[in-house]
């Protein structure tokens, strides 16, 4: 049930982040509940809206879900922001992970990085190193995202048994890549002006 529930929550979070709706900060918890229930339960052409989204993009990674829910609930619950350093680190990790994973896993070639997601201890050790580094640097959101993704994977939260699917999804990789491209372009423009 975790997959459908998270799809509904993600879709609700996206709908509530639309301009206008995003301004209704205090009403967000009630709105989130209502919209999540709506997209999870109300059938449109035989299936709830969340089921169509899930059919198209599958289950979103734990990292994406954390980002979506954090952005949605932060103003209401008074959470601190993710922080610029954490956000940029996540974007770099998502872009790098996407670049490492998707082309090699989908195109013909000698290596298949997706395979190490089926419980390779060296992959876990590398992630532990990343999470520890993030913790030391007090990038709490990054460390929490990695640790929570590993925990949900260990508990078998999704249909997938592959750790990559808990850490990363194509939407997250695109978000990271686009953000880095924009950031790079701004940096180049600024450097040129100087």
């Amino acid at each position: 049930m975790m997959g459908p529930a998270l799809s509904a929550a993600a879709l609700a979070a996206l709908l509530l982040s639309l301009p206008g709706v995003a301004l209704l900060r205090r009403a967000r918890p009630a709105l989130l509940l209502a919209v999540a229930l709506g997209v999870a339960l109300v059938p449109l052409g035989g299936l709830p809206a969340a089921a169509y989204a899930r059919g198209a993009v599958g289950d979103l990674s734990v990292t994406t879900m954390l980002l979506l829910l954090h952005s949605l609930l932060r103003p209401v619950l008074g959470w601190e922001s993710v922080g610029k350093a954490s956000r940029i680190t996540l974007q770099v990790l998502a872009a790098t992970g996407g670049l490492l994973l998707y082309p090699s896993a989908l195109a013909p070639g000698p290596t298949d990085p997706y395979r190490i997601g089926f419980g390779n201890p060296w992959f876990l050790a590398a992630l532990l190193l990343l999470a520890t580094g993030a913790l030391v640097l007090r990038l709490h959101f990054v460390a929490s995202s990695i640790a929570l993704a590993v925990l949900v994977w260990a508990l078998g939260g999704y249909e997938s048994r592959n750790l990559w699917d808990y850490l990363l999804d194509p939407l997250l990789a695109v978000w990271g890549t686009v953000a880095l491209l924009v950031w790079s372009q701004k940096a180049i423009v600024q450097a040129t002006r100087r």
Partner: protein
């Protein structure tokens, strides 16, 4: 905080243990990775193959029979597969509907009782609607099925489902049955690709590992046709994925287990080179490593094939052994591990019709004659003619197609082969080892 150096932060972490957030995140890292490493310790380990055992009775008289599995006219019937049930009956699965990829296409099944020599009426196993409801996600169409019966008596059916786009957007769905296909569990999605779980298709017969897990030969189809072997556990979850070849023009792998450590993989050829020949890879260490792809002398017009390993080590394969089209289907045998092949019998052969002048009446007569020759119960061949015309006729002429073979050998040693007949019917061929030996002659047998 980004400006704080690692050393300083470590000191702070030690001194300011009161910082709740640090401690909370640290606890999460400890718990998460503790559980993660615990799970990694219990992950699927490499396992030996489990060869299929068959007892071939050679003192029987040669036996060769043909019949139709399906007889519904004007309906697409394609991509059949077979599995032997616990009581020795044979169950077939295929997909059927108004046309390939249509929303009304369903996976159907029927059972063959060898003692009576008849197929049961067909029943629906899976449809887009039933799969949607079970998976709680949108599914637009269903496709290729393949099945296996594991040692604990569970019958597994794997079939292609597509939510978005064409076959390139396919995924695999599994259902299981504890009563040999009378009732089925709720469908489960096999997650086998990182890109929205798209682009994994199935066709070849699954294999068994010694530890009870299933080896499911699959292929990617979005960027290129990369052959892979998925490992599926007893709950229907993918626990490993292995690339069988780096070649991107090798869909629909057929894994032929020759011993606990050796297997030969035959690969459909979708590459640009002409003539196309069957691809080959092999392992000698139970799948830890696979040989680079090479080509067998067998022709392959970018078409599915199927095969079995006999108890004496010979390899029997059913395939379209022509350069183009799928209008001929043969049984070929190799006694030297696939290096050389000998044709046992050309089961279907309409190659000569390609060069004849266009003649609709002759096409109709040929289809009707072939249908009657296949099954003595065909009294009126007009349904076969009309159905063949619907799926096989486009300018400037009508064609023949005998494709997507699925070959199995039962525990009792009898061979069963099903294949698509003009895209409208599924044909069944059964023969025994005595017939095979007689047809293969001395060159096909291991000395």
């Amino acid at each position: 905080m980004a400006g704080v150096g690692p050393r300083l932060s470590l000191v702070r972490l030690g001194r300011e243990g009161r910082d709740r957030r640090d401690l909370l995140v640290l606890a999460l890292v400890v718990v998460g990775f503790g559980a993660g490493f615990g799970k990694a310790l219990g992950r699927a380990r490499p396992s030996l193959f489990r060869p299929r055992l068959a007892v071939e009775a050679r003192d029987e008289p040669p036996r060769f029979e043909t019949r139709f599995v399906t007889t519904r006219p004007n309906t697409l019937a394609h991509a059949a597969c077979l599995v032997e049930l616990g009581d020795g009956r044979i169950r077939a699965f295929w997909y059927t509907g108004s046309r390939e990829g249509a929303p009304d296409v369903e996976v159907h099944t029927a059972v063959y009782a060898p003692e009576r020599g008849v197929w049961s009426a067909e029943k629906t196993v899976a449809s887009p609607e039933s799969t949607r409801a079970a998976l709680r996600r949108y599914v637009r169409k269903v496709g290729n099925p393949t099945a296996i019966r594991t040692d604990d008596g569970t019958l597994w059916l794997f079939y292609v489902t597509v939510s978005v786009g064409g076959w390139g957007g396919g995924s695999i769905t599994a259902v299981a049955s504890r009563d040999d296909g009378e009732t089925w569990s709720e469908a489960r999605r096999l997650i086998s690709s990182p890109l929205f779980d798209l682009s994994t298709l199935v066709r070849g017969e699954p294999i068994l590992y010694a530890d009870g897990t299933i080896g499911l030969p699959v292929y990617q189809s979005l960027v290129s046709s990369v052959p892979e072997l998925l490992r599926v556990d007893g709950t229907g979850a993918v626990v490993d994925r292995q690339r069988l070849s780096e070649d991107g023009h090798s869909p629909q792998p057929v894994v032929l287990v020759r011993s606990a450590t050796k297997a030969l993989v035959l690969l459909r050829n979708s590459g640009p080179g002409r003539p196309q020949r069957v691809g080959r890879t092999a392992t000698r260490d139970a799948g830890r490593t696979w040989a680079p792809i090479s080509r067998l002398p067998l022709l392959n017009p970018d078409a599915a094939l199927s095969g079995v390993v006999l108890s004496d080590g010979r390899i029997l394969v059913a395939l379209n052994d022509v350069e183009v089209e799928r209008d001929a289907l043969s049984l070929v045998v190799s006694a030297d591990g696939g290096a050389t092949w000998r044709t046992v019998r050309r089961l279907e052969d309409q190659v000569a019709a390609r060069d004849l002048p266009v003649d609709d009446a002759r096409y109709d007569r040929t289809v009707e004659a072939l249908a009657r020759a296949t099954d003595s119960r065909v009294a009126d061949g007009r349904d076969f003619v009309l159905s063949s015309r619907r799926f096989m006729c486009w300018e400037p002429r009508c064609h023949f197609e005998f494709s997507y073979p699925s070959l199995i050998q039962t525990r009792g040693g009898v061979f069963h082969l099903v294949y698509t007949w003009n895209r409208a019917f599924i044909k069944h061929v059964a023969f025994n080892a005595a017939w095979l030996d007689r047809e293969a002659g001395g060159d096909g047998r291991r000395r």
